[in-house]
Each structure stands twice: as structure tokens, then as C-alpha cells.
Subunit: 539 residues, 2 copies
């Protein structure tokens, strides 16, 4: 067979050739703009040519600090198309982490959204490698800025050549992109995506049994383009010639609902909080969402009630998926097998609430205390992944040795596998409670606690115990009107029927508030610190 | 990203793990048999282990001479799974060609269907490398045979180990399969398929915008497993966990119609003559074909009338596709683009009659007299293909230099490309008529001629001409009842409105019969020889 490398540039070329009339709908600060793939292709080539003039060479990192819009999409293809590396930077990181990853990745050029310039300005003095800033704006004049040297994106395009040829003779294992993922402690860790990985992942995304992405789709990636390649959607949607709707800066649930109705969106993807917001908006207003054939939900587990509301009340098929920055990211998708279609609604909802089946092209293992777990939906173990779009290291980072071992990625996620091979995430390894040689899922206990009408929030953590090594303690925040009216006993009795006796928390600690991370996740490390002597004191 | 090779063995492993209960329905001489993927996986491992005991090593060729059934499927995975090479042999070849390709491929072991043993016996004395014959039969006793040493497939399986591990550490560019394709003159030419090529082709087959093959499908490959990997269906269908229905030896249109009804087939694939036969059968009998979601048709151009009958009369979506042995084989699929769905029935039929759009992952060029042709649906040129599942040579064959040049496969097919990038095959390069620097399609003229009610068969060939270099001559066989009642003039006037004047044949030669090849195609070479002085004599 021909030795033809899989390259990111070829994805855009297909859209230019076969779908020149199809559109990218882009919302920026000045409103909605429409570009055909012919235009996007030409603009991307102009950008690559301009970057080359600025001194960007093969292998150099090109940073982006931007929302989801057409210019960001152009950088997605211009950087890898010229053999450079697209480095998408999370705009929500602390100034310290922004400086750290820009220096660690050694970004040569930084493309920044007009409204995000102040965020970059406050870190810029720390940057050691950035040689040029390019501001992405619809306006003719650049905003006042202390960044320098500074260029206007559109002016560079005017000077660039629309005939720029994407490099073809590269090694498909060469880097095409990179993204940093937060660590529990310390600095973010970098993941490098190869051309091969991105193209194979795009194939996987188009399969009938995964996301079935198609030319007929109108795709709205709500997941940010600065996070895990917006789950690979910009690459796959361009390749297949789908219409793309990029929601731009600071969107609201109302804006998303409007876009879905006006642009007849068929396929959208984001995290559970986005869909909770949309659900709330759909209940307030009156929107036509009949064009939607799939809402993809990942990032964290989707609540069963939310899935049910979308599927039964709004008739919008819900596709629960799982992946991480290290996995490009698609790893599993929850779909019914052909012989499950006739099951009862409740059973179907059970399946849809799990993370699903491994996508073709990857391998998995779930390793518990005694090797690979039984596929019984009960035994828990850490999920290990392997395959051509799974990272094999963190970029120049000693922490690689923890996560990448014997050719496998140790995801840090604890899962069960049912008889059908479907995985369900039950915890993070570090949050799991190891009691007397057995494992207890903090997530399962939390879900049960939060089903109590008086409970506003609940977090369960492991606390050291002399006899059992660790035991669970429940931290509970009651709703205002219930404070002082509900006691430990009632809470424990409420959840008792759902669990083996040894799973039940040894204590319930009522709190005013549960400490949280900057992105709103429970800060279990702080709780564990706070409670580390709790069972010693109490015993 | 991890350096994980794409391997054929991993495709079956996915079916074993995630779809162990799904079935392969296999028709053999003794009737219908059902095997789960768990059983197929175990039997395949036993077979690989048995082949190893027989001395098959990495890189050795394992020949098959067989119909479509479960045992053939097992060899499809056992040979590449152990690092050997699956060599499928066309059972319709002449004894000379069978000997040639077995010797040229240097097959070490030959697996032969019970009813095909006599065909092998008549060539066996010529075989130089075959060390063992394995007979595939349902019976306990082997048939009387002069083949030796000879083994029973099922007995070998009983002795093989179900624990055999497929090799994982191979180079994905290593050969996994091979197939010989007929040449116009001389011996067949060998095409070698790599593990990488087969896996990428399987990805392409599962895309929503190509064949969208899925676990929910019940797949009936009518295209023989001895021809271009049955278009890759056994690999892709196994990977995705589709149910497979393998129709076995000497099937009839009635048998196919029965299988479609009884097994609720959703997806089937074959050449136009198969579908003409099925259409005829559907018109005679009463069959429930409502399960069918796709009939894939390739191998040669599907007549417009047949496509229309399936689509409008039987409501069976028809998927016209194109490929060749050298392209693994899927290269194009004819599907409507999203904005074409509202077109008139006739326009839709026009699109469906073309060979379609290039599948993601491949590149194409159409080269005419003046470089790349205009995408106007008019200008003709030779189709060139490039990509990771396109062959880069014929196996140990000097004729490679003609077909593989500058990194492209010269397909020998002449095509037009319309404004949407959709290709339509109009001729073979060698059958095209080059008149005064312009090209005339023999196929277009033949289709027009055959639409005349008096015409039974028509073939148009190029004949040397002093002034114009070549001119078309039409060879026409009239239906019995019209013989002597229709003249040249009437025939030419009938087709005249459809063509530019200079396209019209210089003469119409009535014949009793048009000479044909062993597989029923017009033998145009013979016609050209016969008519080479026709325009000299007539002028």
C-alpha cells in the first residue's frame, strides 16, 4: 500500500475541494458571520503564509487564547498545515498557570482574542519565548495594548498568500497540536497530539456507531476550542463537510437555544452544566429544537434525570461519552446495542447513564485489587486505555511515569464493566475509599445523599481508620430551610437500603459550604485534610 | 501518542470482547449454520494454532479457494492474526492462471472447499510451493482426493489451541492479505494489502457518509470473499459487531431473496448482474425486503433503470460505489449532499447513477489531454488515486511501472467530474476513442444504442482513421424479431439528438453476436482487430 501519511492539512483540503459552498457560522463580538469552506480554506492558507513570514517554522508552537469562532478554526488548520504545532491555551487558568504553560510549551507566537488581551497582558512579563502577538478582532483598529510586537490578524491575512501549500511530506507521528490539563497538585501537564492521532480520531468520530458525524450535520461545539480540541469536532466536522456553528464569546443558555433553533443545529457537544442550563432555558421559553439529532455529553457524568428530561420530554437523543485530554479525547460512547432496543425505558436510561462502549481502534483494561475485574457491573478497578490516539507521555514532565506504564494510560478513573462490556465511572482513584481491602465509591454515596430532599450538596471522603485502613465520612450541606431540622440518623437511614452495610459512612458532618476548585469541583483534598483525625478523635 | 500498530487481529478481538453473542450465519453444502463471535474467535485461534503447527510462519502465504462461509471468515483473521498473509484465490480462473498465481504468491498452505477440490486437483501437479492442503467440509470424512498431504479443517481445529494469541508487535505496513486481479493480456497481477490499509479501509467503511456499517446491521456480502476481500466487508462487519450472513456455494437469486427475508438483512453488496437477478426474482415472487437499508453496487456501472426500480418500486436505498482490487477496494460512494435532498426524482437518479464522491482519506486527480480536467461533468480524463489503502505496486511484477507513477495509481478508468466533485466513469482508457484530439466515450454511445427497442447488444470501438486518428464504429446485435427490419440510418438517427455530431459512429456493423471474455464482458480487443481496416476499405 502507498506510504501516504495521515495529515491534518488534508482534512481541510477535502472540505475546500468537495464542500466549498458549505458554511462555518461564526459568532464574534460584532455578531454572526458566515464563511464558506472555500473562504475558510483561503483564509487559512493566507494565515499559514503570514505565520511563515513571522518566522514560524516546522515544529514551532503557535499558541491560541480564544473562544470558539472562525479565526480559531483557521489556526486549527494553519499551524499543523505548515508543520507547526497548535497550542490551545485554557483562558480560565490562573495567570501563573498561563505563564507556566506558555513558557513550558515555548510558544513562539500567540493569537489572542480582542476581549482576552487584558488577561494576557497581566502575565506577559513572565513570557520567555513569545516573539509576536496577533490580535483577533473584527475591527479595523487594534485595541490599546501593552503587548508587543503586536499584529492584526486580518491585516496579516491580507498580506498572506492564498496559494500556500500545506506540507505533505511530514511524518504522521509529528506533533500537530498540544493542550495542557490541570493536575491535582502542581502545574498543568502537557499532552501532545500527532497528525496520525488526530486523523484516526476523526475517523472514529464519523463512525455510524460512535458520533456518526456527517456532511448532513449542523454542528455546534459548545465545548471550548481551548479544551482538548473541542473534543476533535473542528477537525472531524471540517473533514466531513458538516456545517459548523461556533458560538463565540460569553454565550448564555438563551443564546445556545436561539442558535439551535435559527441554524437548525443537528449535533452539539458540551459538559453537563451546559445542558442543565439549556434544559432550564428550554423550560422557560418556547424553542424549536426538532433539528437536534444528538446532544453529546462528556467531561463529567451526566445526571440520569437530565438524560431522561432530554430524551423523553424534548425527544432529543442524548449521547453520553467519555474521554480526557490525554485521549484526544473520545474513548467511549453510550449507545444501545441492537438487541437492547426493546428494553424498558428504565433499563435504557440505565445504559445511557453509563459512559458506554469503547470506540473501535482502542483497547481497555480495568484493573482492581486482583487483576482484571469481572464484567459484572459490580467489581471496581482503574480504567487503563491504549491506542493510537492515546498520549504516551506528558510533554517534558517527570509526572509521566505515574500515568503511563507498560504501554497503558492509567486514567485515574475507577470504573465497573457490565456483562455487555459497557463501562461506568464510579470514582477517581484518589477519591475512592479503600476499606478493609474492599473499595467503596464516593460518587455512588454522594448521588444517594443528594437525592434526599433536605440535602443541597454532599461530598464523601476517605478518612484514615486504624482497623479498616480507610472509612467514608459524608460532608453534607443542608438546604437553608432544613438546617437544624434533619439529623445524621435520618440521612444515614435514607441511604441505607441502597448499600451494603459496610459501605455506609461512619459519620455525617454538616457544613456551611463544601470547599471547591476554581472550576467548581469539590476540593476533596481539603476535606480529607480537615477530617484526617476525625475517626481517631471520635473513637 | 502511543505507537500502537493498526492490526487485523485487533478487529476480531473487538467482536470477541464486546459482541460475543452476535452471530455469523453461514450457509454451507449441508445447510444453514450459526456461530457466535465468541465461537468464531475461538475457532479462529484454533486454526491459527494449527497452521503454526503445520509450519506456517510470519510472512508465509496462506491460500484459500472457497465460497463465502464461516470457515473462510476464520481464515480471513487466522492468517493475518498470526502474521501470515491471506491469499484469496478466484475460483473462476482458468487452471493455468490458478497455477500461475499460487506459484507466483508461493502459497505454503491451501484451504479448499470440499466441492472445489476437483478444480484444484486438475492444477495441482503444477504447484511448486504448496506443502499442505486443508479441506473445508461439514462431513466427518474427507472426500476421495489426490491432493496430499491433506488435512481436515475441523480435525485441525480440534487439535489447535483456543488460547492462541494474535501477534501484536508487527509493523502495520506488513502484508496481511493479497489478491490477484485479471490483466487485459498475460497473467493476473497481485495486489498486497497491509494491516494498516485494511484497518483504515474498515474505518472508512463505517463512516456515516460512506457505507455507515454498524453493529445494528445484518450484512450479506454477495460479492465473493475470493475477490478484493469481499470489498472489505468481512473485516469491517466483524470489527463493528454486525451480524453476518454468508451465502455459501452456488446461490441463486431466489436463495438471496429468501435469506434477505428470513435473516432480516439490512445491508448487502454485489455487482450489477446480481441485482438484476434479484430484481427479476422480486418481480416473480412475493418477498418481504423491508429490512434492507442499503444495497451497495460496484464492480461495474449500475444501469439507471435498475437503480430506479430498487429505489422507487421496492423502496430499497441503492448505494452506487466504485473501487478496484488495487484500492482495497472502496474509493467512491454516491450519496446526496445535504442540499441536494430536495431535487427532482430525475436529478437524484442522475446523481445516484454516478460513481460518487471520494471517500475521506483518499486523494484523486482526473487527468485529460491538457492536465487536470475542468469539473464540469463534460471533460474526460483518466482517474488517478492516492492514499493509504491504495496499492503502490503489483507484487513482483514488471507491469507495476505502467500503473503506478509519481505516487499515484493510474486506474485506467476514464471519468468526468461534475461541479460537486462527483465522478462518473465513462470508459476504460483503452476503449476510449481519440478523434481529432478530442475524446469520445464508447460507453455513452453504447448506452444510447441499447436504449433502442430493436437492439439486443451494442459495442462501440475505435477504428484507425487517416484524418482523425480514430473514429467510432458501432457493432450492433439486433433482437431476432427485428433482424433485417432496422437499418443503419434508423439507428444513427435514434441516437443523434443526444450527441455532438462528431461523436456519432462513422458506421454501424450488424453482427450475430459480440465476442465476449470468460466473465461475459465485451471483448473489444477482438472487435478492434476485426475492424481495423474498416474505414480504409469503406473510404
Amino acid at each position: 500500500m502507498m506510504n501516504v501519511p495521515l495529515t491534518v492539512g488534508s482534512l481541510l483540503e477535502r472540505a475546500e475541494k468537495f464542500f466549498p459552498k458549505k458554511q462555518v457560522v461564526s459568532r464574534t463580538l460584532s455578531g454572526i458571520h458566515r464563511f464558506t469552506y472555500k473562504e475558510i480554506g483561503e483564509r487559512t492558507r493566507r494565515l499559514a503564509s503570514a505565520l511563515e513570514k513571522l518566522g514560524v517554522e516546522k515544529g514551532d508552537r503557535v499558541g491560541t487564547f480564544a473562544w470558539n469562532h472562525h479565526r480559531h478554526l483557521e489556526v486549527y488548520f494553519a499551524a499543523p498545515g505548515m508543520g507547526a504545532v497548535l497550542h490551545t491555551i485554557n483562558i480560565r487558568l490562573s495567570p501563573e498557570h498561563v505563564s507556566y504553560i506558555i513558557n513550558h510549551a515555548e510558544d513562539k507566537v500567540l493569537l489572542v482574542d480582542e476581549d482576552l488581551v487584558p488577561l494576557i497582558e497581566r502575565s506577559k512579563d513572565q513570557f520567555k519565548t513569545v516573539e509576536a502577538y496577533i490580535i483577533m478582532t473584527d475591527k479595523d483598529e487594534l485595541p490599546e495594548t501593552t503587548l508587543e510586537p503586536v499584529y492584526s490578524y486580518e491585516e496579516l491575512l491580507r498580506e498572506g498568500s492564498p496559494e500556500f501549500e500545506f506540507v505533505k511530506d511530514l511524518d504522521e507521528n509529528d506533533p500537530a497540536g498540544m493542550c495542557y490539563t490541570s493536575a491535582t497538585t502542581g502545574n498543568p501537564k502537557g499532552v501532545v497530539y500527532s497528525h496520525r492521532g488526530i486523523v484516526l480520531h476523526s475517523f472514529a468520530f464519523g463512525l455510524a456507531d460512535t458520533a456518526a458525524l456527517s456532511e448532513t450535520d449542523v454542528v455546534l461545539p459548545v465545548v471550548p476550542m481551548f479544551h482538548a480540541n473541542a473534543w476533535g469536532l473542528p477537525f472531524a466536522a471540517t473533514w466531513f463537510g458538516s456545517t459548523q456553528v461556533l458560538p463565540g464569546p460569553l454565550f448564555t443558555p438563551k443564546l445556545l437555544a436561539d442558535l439551535i433553533e435559527q441554524e437548525k443545529v443537528t449535533f452539539t457537544a458540551g459538559v453537563p452544566t451546559i445542558w442543565l442550563g439549556l434544559l432550564n432555558e428550554l423550560e422557560k421559553g418556547s424553542y424549536d429544537t426538532s433539528s437536534l439529532r444528538s446532544i453529546v455529553c462528556g467531561g463529567s457524568a451526566a445526571p440520569r434525570g437530565m438524560i431522561k428530561a432530554f430524551e423523553t420530554k424534548y425527544k432529543i437523543p442524548f449521547l453520553h461519552a467519555y474521554g480526557m485530554t490525554e485521549t484526544t479525547p473520545l474513548a467511549t460512547v453510550s449507545r444501545l446495542k441492537s438487541y437492547q432496543v426493546g428494553l424498558e425505558e428504565d433499563e435504557i436510561l440505565d445504559i445511557r447513564s453509563k459512559q458506554g462502549l469503547l470506540v473501535p481502534g482502542l483497547e481497555m483494561k480495568v484493573i482492581g485489587g486482583n487483576g482484571e475485574v469481572k464484567w459484572d457491573g459490580e467489581e471496581m478497578g482503574e480504567l487503563l486505555l491504549r491506542g493510537p490516539w492515546i498520549a504516551d507521555e506528558y510533554y517534558k514532565d517527570e509526572r509521566s511515569a505515574d500515568a503511563f506504564r507498560d504501554g497503558w494510560l492509567y486514567t485515574g478513573d475507577v470504573a465497573t464493566v457490565d456483562e455487555e462490556g459497557v463501562i461506568k465511572l464510579v470514582d477517581r482513584t484518589k477519591d475512592l475509599i479503600k476499606s478493609g481491602g474492599e473499595w467503596i465509591s464516593s460518587v455512588d454515596l454522594e448521588n444517594a445523599l443528594m437525592a434526599h430532599e433536605a440535602v443541597f450538596e454532599a461530598s464523601v471522603v476517605a478518612v484514615p481508620h486504624q482497623q479498616w485502613q480507610e472509612r467514608p465520612i459524608a460532608c453534607v450541606v443542608l438546604k437553608e430551610q432544613y438546617r437544624g431540622k434533619v439529623d445524621k440518623q435520618e440521612i444515614l437511614e435514607f441511604i441505607a437500603p441502597q448499600f451494603a452495610k459496610w459501605w455506609l459512612p461512619d459519620d455525617v458532618v454538616f457544613m456551611e459550604e463544601i470547599p471547591k476548585t476554581s472550576v467548581g469541583k469539590f476540593l476533596k483534598r481539603a476535606l480529607r485534610d480537615q477530617l484526617k483525625d476525625h475517626l481517631v478523635q471520635n473513637s
